[in-house]
């Protein structure tokens, strides 16, 4: 039997209105234990009001080697940003 407890990634929502944010990882035998552990480990100072856990091996991540192909093409799409468009000064808030 594998003696290591699986690794879980922990996400905490610090208050309503905000996203859950990755805070770190911990070990647990099942998701329920991971939630309990996350409460004990990552919310000792009122850091959160909601917890998500996911086993680390179940996360699919993009490959850093693709980063040029993935993210560079967005660089020259200046027309996606509001400052690309010229408006007369009289139009104050748009």
């Amino acid at each position: 039997m594998n003696k290591n407890l699986p690794l879980y990634e922990i996400f905490i929502r610090s208050k309503n209105g905000l996203h859950h944010k990755h805070v770190g990882s911990l070990h647990a035998s099942d998701p329920q234990m991971a939630i309990m552990n996350a409460r004990d480990v990552y919310t000792r100072r009122q850091e959160g009001i909601s917890i998500w856990v996911i086993e680390s091996k179940d996360i699919t991540a993009s490959n850093p080697e693709d980063s040029d192909a993935f993210y560079a093409p967005a660089e020259d799409k200046v027309y996606r940003h509001p400052t690309f468009y010229d408006l007369p000064d009289e139009v104050k808030h748009m």
Partner: protein, 315 residues
Amino acid sequence: MELSLEQKFQEKIDRDERIEPRDWMPDSYRKTLVRQISQHAHSELVGMLPEGNWISRAPSLRRKLGLMAKVQDEAGHGLYLYSAAETLGVERDTMFDQLHSGKAKYSSIFNYPTLTWADIGAIGWLVDGAAIMNQVPLCRCSYGPYARAMVRVCKEESFHQRQGFEIMLTLCQGTPEQKAMAQDALNRWWWPSLMMFGPNDAESPNTKQSMAWNIKRFSNDELRQRFVDMTVPQAELLGIKIPDPDLKLNEETGNYHFGAINWDEFWQVVKGHGPCNKDRLAARVKAHEEGAWVREAAMAYAEKQENRLNKAKTA
């Protein structure tokens, strides 16, 4: 000319960018980090023991809660650090094995005994003070997960040093007997605290590379000097004397000159000949071995539950 992976990596470092787990990194960078982060994690874990030794004897409810919360934080900090090391592809259990077999090191300071309540004050004041001095620059370390773990650690640790200083202050404002206890603790913890910053720069072959990689931001001697400069006035405020006849303020630089460190003692403790090395390791090994059946049971139960769930689905 096409830059090599290594050159690209170094350029990123030189632009003060962070390296993340899946980014390419030189093997030696990965190895250095694994060694440093796991040593750091082990130090947090072993560091629970000398202070934990006083939880059951803490002199008041307020002190008992404060000390327990602090020692518990150290468990948390160990956990954050093991997490950070795990992003480099080494499992926590492997790191435990290295600690338990004596292959991995941890901070030597924790191989000294806590004999009186004043030691709890001195550890908080000096040992945590030195640790914070080391850790604050690590919040800007080039490896993202390590830097993020350190941000968390530093934020939580700010109460530890204050707690220690408050204990010292109470003793120093108490009876002559209490003040003598505080002085004795300072005498015993001062030099080991200075040793916490590691060997002199000239004897520290890895420092240069670590600084080039932005893992380390300041050298051992720089940090040690800062610690002395910060701590001497605090000892004066407490009214106790730092056990160093050579300690003297250099008016020109504003730095304190301090006496020679007994490096022979340092290396002896690193090699395992400190007063508590054996006890500390034995306690960690015992906790881990006696926990084996708990971990096995938890895994067995999780498996059973999953099977039951799958069965229910197919039924």
